[in-house]
Symmetry: C2
Subunit: 337 residues, 2 copies
DNA sequence: CCCGCCAATGTTAACGTCACCATTACGGTT
DNA sequence: AACCGTAATGGTGACGTTAACATTGGCGGG
């Protein structure tokens, strides 16, 4: 590996400005008691040398960094990405910098991610853990710094910011039931995802509440392709399909229409997530909107509270809402064999 | 802000294991000349204390970090996200860790991003600069560490990894021309994006080559919504529309069909990017596939070369390819008013 | 039996910053 | 004139790690 030359240090700046390094430090940290002329000399020297403060040294000296670590899943799905984006924006406004790294449920990768982040003295942690294995590995640092779970699909007491999945599923079922549907089939996400499990379990519950039969559960891997494949298997007696996310729903829509079943004429279709393209599918996809921006905002806010010593308290789940478009309609008159 | 307690240090581990801190360091860095028994004691002590190496101190001492800084645009579009994902994966395999931060073309944000990254002693930099303003701000560090531009849309000599945009546009036009189209309208991306400009300019060129008339250029902001709006304005005489990315194409498809023009019966439609959903649109969207994985891979590889002192050399642009689906077809027989 | 050498470990001094305390210089009090 | 206070700046040690050199303790050869 090539050796990388170091940039100029405070001492270099101090030498050029003809002051002590400490004065440079004071200028950088916005101390008040500095003669304007001295400050100007220092600023000029900084400019001249292209000096940038060495954060490693600063962290070493102060023990804190104003950086929050973010553990992301190794995907580029809409949900995690939108949340990341929201966290980044909210953190920036709060004067914090996110330090992002990825991990998978595979043995060891979460540990690596934590090594990376804690080794860089992050002040707090946001963990997007969509798989339960990832939660376990984080336990060891819970008492070392504030940790917040996000997108686990479920509220985990005072440590988790989440959209109310149960509520979202209920909205879907009630919407479909109000349209007369009684045979609703589910295209679930991968079984190792907490969110997928949760939506699946919630669906089961709500169907039972309404006294509806459960059809065999199809499943995919969140991708449109997998939704397409699942869509080919949709039960002939099903009058509605609920896919666990929008891309799978769009894939299923493709498969259904290709198979000669019109949406929503023969089968109603509902997704989950409200990706921007869903509004422009034909027919427009009925779906559940999850406010990821709010998730990110809330997460940063809670973390700031923790950092400021506000005691842990209950975190309200975030309410999703239904967006009814054209892909869901009344149950076909002919049906019910 | 709450004070964050420090974790255990090498000295603590050394005390527990009954050795010197240096021996702990040697164990951590995989030195060979350590008695197995001693090593075991150290490992046990590390385990017991939950010790994690302080990277700030390590960086301070070594001057290097095996971290590459990544400057991302503040968006979650498919292209940048896919590339980021690919870079992350490739870097991990190469033993490097990406340190990601975002910037916008706004005054100062690129500087902030560089402060953040350089302050953490990154060994190299990947800049996803989609807007020219972002390029300028980076110039000041070009001689301090290896810098690689990505997604600038164009090859910038030995410092840029990019998909050959000109080639992609040519593929689209030749595809359409071979189907008999002569009136091709463009839905461009935002004018401040290099990629948008480049595709637009390339289109102009290739149209001229074929002696084709230029229709008024519509434009959007990359989003499906903006594509929809642009789609409402498509020239009645146009027999083909080329959108600068897939989401805009999908939006336009919506608008066209809503306006009673069938795709591809009345108007052919071609996108750019090949997002996964495009395969499942109805009709399936003809588009240009950009291999972002290859971009990420190549980027990391070039950076490794630079770090190892391999001299700068020409970087081949990456070849895109056309994916012909159902949204493009022969020019309608009736037409040509 | 002593010397030297190697293998295994310990000691000390950086790295660049901030926190803390010390030192000036200067004007105003007594 | 001696004193004090304050505003501005300087000097010294952490912080936790690595690098370079120093120190042990055995063991084999002359």
């Amino acid at each position: 590996m090539g050796k990388v030359g170091r940039g100029p240090s405070m001492h270099d700046v101090a030498a050029v400005a003809g002051v002590s390094h400490q004065t440079v430090s004071r200028v950088l940290n916005g101390y008040v008691g500095i003669r304007p002329e001295t400050r100007a000399r220092v600023v000029a020297a900084i400019e001249e040398l292209g000096y940038r403060r060495n954060m490693a040294a600063r962290q070493l000296a102060t023990g804190r960094s104003d950086v929050i670590g973010v553990v992301m899943p190794e995907t580029h799905h809409f949900g995690p990405m939108s949340t990341l984006y929201a966290i980044e924006a909210a953190a920036k406004r709060a004067g914090l910098k996110p330090l992002i790294t990825t991990a998978t449920p595979e043995e060891g990768t979460v540990g690596d991610a934590l090594d990376f982040l804690l080794g860089r003295s992050v002040d707090a942690l946001v963990v997007m853990a969509q798989q339960p294995e990832m939660l376990d590995a984080v336990k060891s640092v819970l008492d070392r710094l504030p940790v917040l779970f996000v997108l686990t699909g479920d509220a985990h007491g005072p440590r988790s910011v989440a959209v109310d999945q149960r509520r979202g599923v209920r909205l879907v079922v009630e919407h479909l039931v109000s349209l007369g549907h009684r045979r609703i089939q589910h295209i679930a996400g991968p079984g190792d995802y907490l969110e997928a499990r949760l939506r699946r379990a919630a669906l089961r519950e709500v169907l039972a509440e309404h006294g509806l039969e459960e059809l065999p559960i199809l499943s995919g891997d969140w991708s449109a392709d997998s939704g397409y494949r699942a869509g080919l298997e949709v039960d002939p007696s099903a009058t509605a399909v609920f896919a666990a996310n929008d891309p799978m729903a769009l894939g299923a829509m493709h498969a259904l229409e290709e198979g000669g079943r019109s949406v929503p004429g023969d089968v109603s279709l509902v997704g989950f997530d409200d990706v921007p393209e869903s509004a422009h599918a034909r027919p427009g996809l009925t779906t559940v909107h999850q406010d990821f921006t709010e998730v990110g905002l809330r997460a940063v806010q809670v973390l700031m509270d923790r950092l400021n010593g506000v005691p842990e308290s209950h975190i309200e789940p975030i309410e999703p809402w239904l967006i009814a478009r054209e892909s869901s309609g009344p149950v076909p008159l002919v049906a019910d064999a």
